[in-house]
Symmetry: C2
Amino acid sequence: MLKSKLSTPQIYDDLHMQLVTAQIPQGQKMRSERLREDYDCSANTIREVLFRLASEGLVIFEDQRGFRARPTDPERLHYLTKFRIMLEQEGATASIQHGALEWEAQLAASHHKLSHIESKLSETSLSGNTLKLWSLAELEFHDTLLSACDSPFLRSSYRRTYDQFRQQKIMQPEYGYHPENIVEHQAIVTAALKRDAHACRVAIYEHMKRNLRDGGASGTLHPDALGAASTG
Amino acid sequence: MLKSKLSTPQIYDDLHMQLVTAQIPQGQKMRSERLREDYDCSANTIREVLFRLASEGLVIFEDQRGFRARPTDPERLHYLTKFRIMLEQEGATASIQHGALEWEAQLAASHHKLSHIESKLSETSLSGNTLKLWSLAELEFHDTLLSACDSPFLRSSYRRTYDQFRQQKIMQPEYGYHPENIVEHQAIVTAALKRDAHACRVAIYEHMKRNLRDGGASGTLHPDALGAASTG
DNA sequence: TTCCCAGAAAATTTCAAAATTTTTGAAAAT
DNA sequence: ATTTTCAAAAATTTTGAAATTTTCTGGGAA
């Protein structure tokens, strides 16, 4: 692997990518010395980058024992999903209320790109490259959905949560394979463009519930992430 | 200032405390060399701690220009408040649904402590120490309110947001002075113990709206943080 | 065979100094 | 008087190595 002297932010980007795509497997030790050689820099630069990745949850740090890619953890996947559902429901509802024509247009565009990729995925088996393409398009779709919510902290929090979710999920063989995704994404975008906040919340829950601990058993009764909104 | 060789985590705690209490004023430069002397450690240890504080938003980092305590920014305070309202409304609603007797008891306890401190605050002018005491009690109250929401990511996200909010707000002379706080906290706890999620959401909004950009002008119509839930 | 301890090896953390970049301040030119 | 230029000073970033801690390995005792 020949790399021509990457800068510190580039090293960060590269390791981030390797973590969310599980090219660095979950739980694997990340030794400073090894990475120092790979990137041809000092141990301190590596340490700095790893601390930043740790603060975002992709890496865990233990005092005097160094760094490891975060191991798989079903409970963590459950709670990440729960938080994602809540953030996306709240963000989408706010976008529906505040978003203008430009938002609708961007949402339609990102959904068009995503559904194009997804229709090809169902025909051919996915190579590593098309999987990356799909993953990027899906993130862009979800982010566009929230882009008019007028809450920068919600958006950055969603992004961090999505990355961690992806790191947990990507090694499961069914990641990206679900044909249901097509109709689920369609339901989300349809509800959003109809400005039907409640239907959009339900669609978001239906899209993600399979990653909850119980697979969303009590789903139709409580479509909100924290089991809350149905009480109003 | 005589410190007997603090460890790295202790240095982190100390700087964190100084930042959220604005003992390090907003916008002030934080020079490695100066801090290295204060804490009697190497520049690298300081750098590590400052990067961590930067990832939590209390410090800003500019390449080749070092670190600064985050400056005051009214827009930032607005968006921090908006996000805090959303997280607390969602978390409280979930706690109301899931919380058992133990939760009620802890909530009553933390509110009792808080209101005791607040009743004294209205009589005497607050010294630096009672302000710290109040601040700690208020955080504990809000955290207890969310403690039964069964969403660890919501709680840690709330904590980070609260710290940043406090850093922005603490220098404003009215911080901690509001007599309204007493009745507002009472309204929150009453609604929560009555298991009235909607009333609790309204009370949370009413408690925080003065920190929004417009002071909550359209408040009574839209008690939800992102202006959303009233559409359902 | 299993358990435990000591010594060796490896990895992490801290340190101090060199190298790079930014900031400062004064002199020269417009 | 204002702007520009350049050199000195100050601060940040990187580096390589020392010091500390953990992990590994092998031998001896139960």
